[in-house]
Amino acid sequence: MGEPAGIGGEIAIKAWLERKKYKLPPFFVIGDPHWLAAIDPQAAIREITAPSECAARFKLALPVLPLRLAKAALPGKPDAGNAEAVLAAIRVGVKLAKHGAISALVTNPIEKAVLYGAGFSHPGHTEFLAELTGATKPPVMLLACPASGKDPGLRVAPVTVHLPLAQAAAQIDRTRIIETARTVAAALAGDFGIAVPRLAIAALNPHAGEQGALGREEIEIIAPAVADLMGIGINAQGPFPADTLFHAGARRRFDCVICMYHDQALIPLKTIDFARGVNVTLGLDIVRTSPDHGVALDIAGQGVANPASLIAAIHMARDIARSRYDG
């Protein structure tokens, strides 16, 4: 469901309407059927009582596993009264995935400010999911833009996520780089079918520190981490100047770039393609993807939201589930 006042419901309905064009696997919404009906009164919606009914219903209607909202959702105006339902939808999704009732969970964007008022205390969706799934290691956020035409696509994984830049730079840590890269390498092999993933490790400073003249983190922290990774048999190279890693030629040479901070990963992704970025959580025992955009309160309810990122997230969830469960 995600934030019901955002664009989540609209893009879910649009994705279902385009299910044939994009060859989407059967999916259902965990949310309030009245909420979806209010967004698009014409939409074919069908309540289900269990995920097992989804596949049969999917052809003729968007299946919905009902979860009632406390308040009617007004587009663009999140209501703290619905925070509990937003969190419950995520809990239900995790539980179904854990029990194997569904192959993958795709989460629509949430509005954290509203959830904090209701006692939510995690920095983001990803950390909440780590707790719900009982993950023993911190999960890794992978952002991916699928290949299209001549463009090879892009995968990036930041070592730190929601940290101010000064803190991210100060906290660059050898162990953290190694753990992130290991999780990514394992996931690319197991979930993405890339037998020997090629990882590029980005530098922190301009020109990769220029032999220490523009910063010493490359020499003291990142290069040793790369050496350790190679020592344990991971095909990692770097540290490379970050501005040399994201043009199409460079993106063909690597399967993923391990980035040192949030914007190092997000700027290339969003500069290439605003519409089709996907966020994948690596290191969980369930498959979870999400569209890489926010709740877009400014355009909610206008019918103009673009479902491309959600569609890409559903595709990627299907592909990962296939690799992981069907081998």
């Binding site: 100060a170 190092q264 700027i267 992704l269 500069t271």
Partner: protein, 331 residues
């Protein structure tokens, strides 16, 4: 030329390292005549190296040594060059760094800068120099360092124009350098410079420093700096989420982005248009432009190097220095 047309500006292009692709791409660019439409071009460098460049590029042109800027030829088959004998032709080999090449380039760069400072030429363009050669000649210091508050690096790639608040600086130092005053002063410089170049009142987007532009520096330094600029009538918004603002500039919501640090702007520019960008130093009263690629020693002398970037830099320098604004790049 019609009588009403304003005088085209003189743009001096230095040929770059004689062992690199500089001379051959300059030759290819020159004979297209496209730079002549927007400027009166002249070269600074070695006539010998340039003749070699003409030969490698397999173009039809005569290299003519001139002693001054009077009577420059309008004929694209005549390549006018100021050659003060700084390069000994015997001392360099195509594809290799050399002390002679470094020394000569240091002299050419100094001469170009002096001519621009004196107002003899309206703009300078630099074909790629080799830092290896400059190092051998102990002349690395001729490359103008960017000093926040005084000068800034601006990268241009089609609709994406990115000026950097800081440049060659460790990332941790960037966070301490950013201030309200620096932000305001950079915005003023960017606004004034674009207006002088012929794009009046540019719409500027300021990239934040932190994820989603929601950190301490964004609130305490950038936002007040932007407010002050707005109060002066500058069309500026921000700080904006750094992961969104560059795409918004590509989509023409802004005419320029003020980036906070080297990689923030360079990542966006190189992701968007790796093969087509040029760099301008903003701050000095004259225009000084370089291309994004290097000397490409591996392909130098083969005549296969692409000249479009240097040609676009020469055209852009002519257009901007005469106040005619930015022009569409030739593909």
């Amino acid at each position: 030329m019609s009588g009403t047309e304003k005088q085209r500006p003189i743009v001096a292009t230095s040929i770059g390292d004689p062992a690199g692709i500089g001379p051959e791409i300059v030759a290819k660019a020159w004979v297209t005549g496209e730079a002549h439409k927007l400027s009166r071009p002249v070269l600074i460098g070695s006539a010998h190296a340039m003749r070699k460049g003409v030969e490698i590029a397999k173009v039809k042109a005569t290299v003519r040594v001139v002693n001054g800027l009077d009577g420059l030829s309008d004929n694209p088959e005549v390549i006018d060059i100021l050659d003060d004998g700084a390069l000994d032709p015997a001392d360099f080999q195509i594809g290799q760094d050399s002390e002679a090449g470094g020394r000569a380039n240091a002299a050419w760069l100094k001469r170009a800068e002096q001519m621009a400072r004196n107002g003899e030429v309206a703009a300078t363009v630099f074909a790629p120099v080799s830092s290896g050669s400059l190092k051998m000649a102990k002349a690395l210091d001729v490359i103008m360092p960017v000093v926040p508050g005084e000068s800034y690096l601006l990268l241009l790639s089609g609709p994406l124009r990115v000026m950097h608040l800081t440049d060659h600086m460790p990332l941790r130092k960037v966070c301490d350098t950013i201030s309200e005053d620096l932000t305001y002063s950079a915005l003023q410089t960017l606004h004034d410079t674009f207006t002088r170049w012929g794009m009046a009142n540019p719409r500027i987007g300021v990239a934040g420093l932190n994820p989603h532009a929601m950190g301490k520096e964004d609130i305490e330094s950038l936002a007040p700096g932007v407010k002050r600029a707005q109060a002066k009538g500058i069309r500026v918004e921000g700080p904006l989420s750094p992961d969104a603002v560059f795409r918004q500039c590509v989509e023409s919501k802004y005419d320029a982005v003020l980036a906070m640090y080297h990689d923030q702007g360079h990542i966006a520019i190189k992701t968007w248009g790796f093969s087509g960008n040029c760099a301008v130093i903003v701050g000095p009263p004259y225009l000084s432009m370089t291309v994004a690629h290097g000397t490409a020693f591996d392909i130098a002398g083969k005549g296969i190097a692409d000249h479009k970037m240097i040609l676009n830099a020469m055209r852009m320098a002519g257009s901007m220095s005469s106040g005619s604004g930015f022009i569409e790049e030739m593909k």
